[in-house]
């Protein structure tokens, strides 16, 4: 870095390289690395489910085959079959796809609403802040599960309604985080600089302020993705989730519970899958936080 002018301007560094480099930072935390590996594994499973040599998750064959047992066509049920004779491994993997897709949609929706509300409340303050915070506090005063059950019971069980329910419960929390971040950031000189050149509030909120709040938000997304997966599974477990017959981890656990102890494998497989995914998200979030606190 010298102070002397050089006449040439180098080419614009590529955006993709910059992104890859920031991902590469994660390797400094082995904890985060393991988390990311677990998450990546399930993402790959979800994407590759149609390509894998799996039994159809809905096809019934011999009931309650133990893990490793032989299938009627000579293949192997690596994780056995459930009480309707459906292949457990196949259902777990196809279930990951369903969980991922709906969790992702729900999180996207909750963050879109939460961020918008939070930025508005944090930057504009005053009456806007009072109103938004008031409604957020009302929503936050409900026990989460009660709110889920209320919303689903009212709207009916479907994927879209799960997205709505998650948005109602998660957006107020996100709004609080964003509001706090923005209230801190809005006192910075670059915001004053934007104001003194007459920028609109929208420009300041979403171009000047929001990008600087992304650090803590990325960590939070990871954590909350895990929570959402749990929420979706819980709803399914309660019979309020995604409608059958497509496989879904919460529903699988629910069905297995009725079978009791003699078919432990049917319950263990989806439960392990659920735990590992949540653990993965939590570890990744911890890793990201650890890295962001350095330097």
């Amino acid at each position: 870095m010298s102070d002397n002018p050089t006449a040439t301007a180098s080419a614009r560094p590529s955006r993709i390289m910059g992104f890859l480099r920031s991902i590469a930072l994660l390797r400094e935390s082995w904890f985060g690395m393991i988390g990311a590996a677990i998450v990546l594994f399930w993402v790959l499973m979800a994407i590759l489910a149609p390509l894998l040599p799996l039994y159809d998750p809905l096809d019934a064959s011999v009931r309650l085959v133990p893990p490793g047992g032989e299938a009627f066509d000579g293949g192997t049920h690596w994780l056995g079959t459930d009480n309707r004779g459906r292949d457990v491994l196949s259902r777990v993997i196809w279930g990951s796809q369903r969980v991922m897709v709906w969790a992702m949609l729900a999180i996207l929706c909750a963050y879109a609403v939460g961020i918008t509300m939070g930025v508005l409340a944090g930057y504009l303050g005053g009456l806007v802040d009072d109103v938004v915070s008031f409604f957020a506090n009302i929503l936050l005063s409900f026990p989460v599960l009660v709110l889920y059950v209320l919303i689903i019971a009212f709207l009916g069980a479907s994927g879209v309604n799960i997205v709505i329910a998650v948005t109602f419960t998660t957006a107020p929390i996100v709004m609080r985080i964003v509001r706090g971040l923005i209230m801190d950031l809005r006192t910075r000189d670059y915001v004053a600089a934007a104001q003194t050149r007459g920028e609109s509030s929208l420009y300041i909120m979403f171009v000047e302020l929001l990008p600087n709040a992304r650090g803590p938000l990325i960590v939070d997304v990871c954590l909350r993705f895990g929570y959402t997966v749990v929420a979706i599974a819980t709803l399914s477990f309660l019979g309020l989730g995604l409608p059958p017959p497509e496989p879904d981890w919460g529903m699988m656990i629910n069905e297995a519970v009725e079978l009791g102890a003699h078919a432990g494998h049917v319950m263990l497989a989806p439960a392990a899958a659920l735990s590992s995914l949540i653990l993965g998200f939590n570890m990744m979030a911890d890793g990201l936080r650890e890295i962001s606190l350095r330097d």
């Binding site: 870095m1 102070d3 002018p5 050089t6 040439t8 670059y190 003194t196 050149r197 609109s200 990008p211």
Partner: protein, 696 residues
Amino acid sequence: MAEPPVLEARNLSISYYTRAGEIPAVIDFSVEVHAGETIGIVGESGCGKSTVAMAIMQHMGTNGAIVGGQVLYKGRDMAEMSQEELRKTRGSEIAMIYQEPFASLNPSLKIRQQLMEIPLTHEGASESEARDRALQILRDVQLPDPERVMEAFPHQLSGGQQQRVVIAMGLLANASLLVLDEPTTALDVTVEAGIIKLIGDISRRFGTAQIYISHNLGLIRETCDRVFVMYSGEVVEEGSIDQLFRNPRHPYTHGLFGCIASPSMDKNATPLKPIRGQLPLPHERPPGCNFGPRCDFFKAGRCDQDTIPHRRVDEQRGHYARCVRIEEIKHDQAESKPEQKDPLTLGEVVLKIDRMQKYYPVYNNSIPAILRGERVRHVKANESLTFNARRAETVAIVGESGCGKSTFAKVLMGLETATGGSIKLEDTEIAYQPVRKRPPDRISALQMVFQNPFDTLNPSHRVGPQIGRVIQRFTNARSQDRIRDKVFELLDIVKLPRDFYYRRPRQLSGGQKQRVGIARAFAGNPAMVVADEPVSALDVSVAAAVTELLMDIQREHHTTLLFISHDLSTVRYLSDSVVVMYLGWIMERGTTDEVFSPPYNPYTEALLSAVPIADPNIQKREILLEGNLPSVMAPPKGCPFSTRCPHRIGEICDNEPPPEREVSPGHTITCHIPIEELKRAKPVFEYHEPASESVG
């Protein structure tokens, strides 16, 4: 000198271990501190001066280590002390005083508890004995009303008082050595002057040895006996105050003096001579002399070989410099007289401010307040400001914290609106228009350079587009290519490489960010630029370069510059006229010469006297102010300065707002004392020609 020095460091080398490997922070540092002596360590940020302080305390953190040499406390090697001994030494023998006094005091304990604890635990004194000692020490550090201070919590004291309490804690422990790390940087100038005086008294009265760390050469000159100048981890020059300030021999030391404005300089006759380039990063130090790449006397083959020895200068006792060419370099001859610059002719009046007023309402919604009808109170941030600024003029607004200078800038920029009076920018009234209601040409006519370089640029966006946005908004350039070319031109003007366009702000140093901030302010060709302490957060050598840059751009564009500052040396150097503010009032205004010579407003006089001066040829009249700045919530009823004024004439000062009296056209003083009497004051600064160039 039979007694061993209180502290001795021998060839001390300190490294930090980071991701990038071992980074030597301090190399070969040797010092002796005797009882009653004050040693100054001066240098720019990152030169290793605070690391030295931490090494003296044997507290290197998790990733630092002393890799060579030793520290001896009263003849004993501190590295051989047990943890228990070290703890005792730190607590009662060596006391450290940091920049931020509030961080050194426990916010949930009363001062009484924090002070009495020291004699109680260290000496097993009785309760009443400890109390007496604590009261006495508070009197010794000249705190008014020690009884009240004893019962106060830290947050109930002002910054200056807090710092005095921290110093008192060090003295109470009978410390033999005080390490002061920038103890006044967070304080106002007039408060700072009092602390400096106190630090000087301490070594005389208590025989305490002191190590004073600062970036400010003026402060070092006023407090210390010997000085160590550090650059990039090494001591480059050491000597007594007299040797070093009258006859600096290392090119870096000499360069530093060229970077500081002294009250005898002005921007046209003697421009500052910034040191080019910037401090090398610790892992990018050049071979040989660390200062080589920035040195005007660099000789390839000699200055870039091996390590440079620390040698005695001209057979003088105690004067050393780390330079191979000291004998050859003749600073007074080699000095290329900087080109004189023609003063700008001032144009028509651009900004006309007439009795501008800004009150902030403060609501108290408690029931007693509502019953008493005192629900709304007003903080009078600006009280009747009146002054003009002309084209190409530099108007400085000086004052300490809480004087209302930043509020004024906000009103001017349209971030707040005035409560009364008028502000006319090129004949348009803008006092009541928030920035969003102003027409675009009014907005582009008035731009701002901000104080904090780490805040002024948006860390999420690249440098180029941030400047480009201003061009896009304020000029008729529309195409992306056209805007980028214009940004390139601006980068050339602020002397930054063009590929900075693609840099992120975090890849820039403080000085470079400030240059980008200047480029951004000037991108829309403004008629007037408000600069709010633009260089106060920068290192001396970088600040000089940025100041000169600002002056050069102004010269070219005939921009009116409103320079907000608390640093009177810089103000004296670069401004054409000065407005002195105190608690929302203008105390004095006029051309720079008028304000800096008698008659003075008593506040101006005290403010001038508080400025630390690094120039040994200037003699300063000492005026110390008592007390603290009153709170803006409860200002004095009459003259705002009446509570601290050394020239107070009586009841009238407390009860009646002072009149604004005109000394000569354009020069006014707000004071009850008649002008004739004020005229009898002697100048604060007296310049003595150096008797003879005593070189050698």
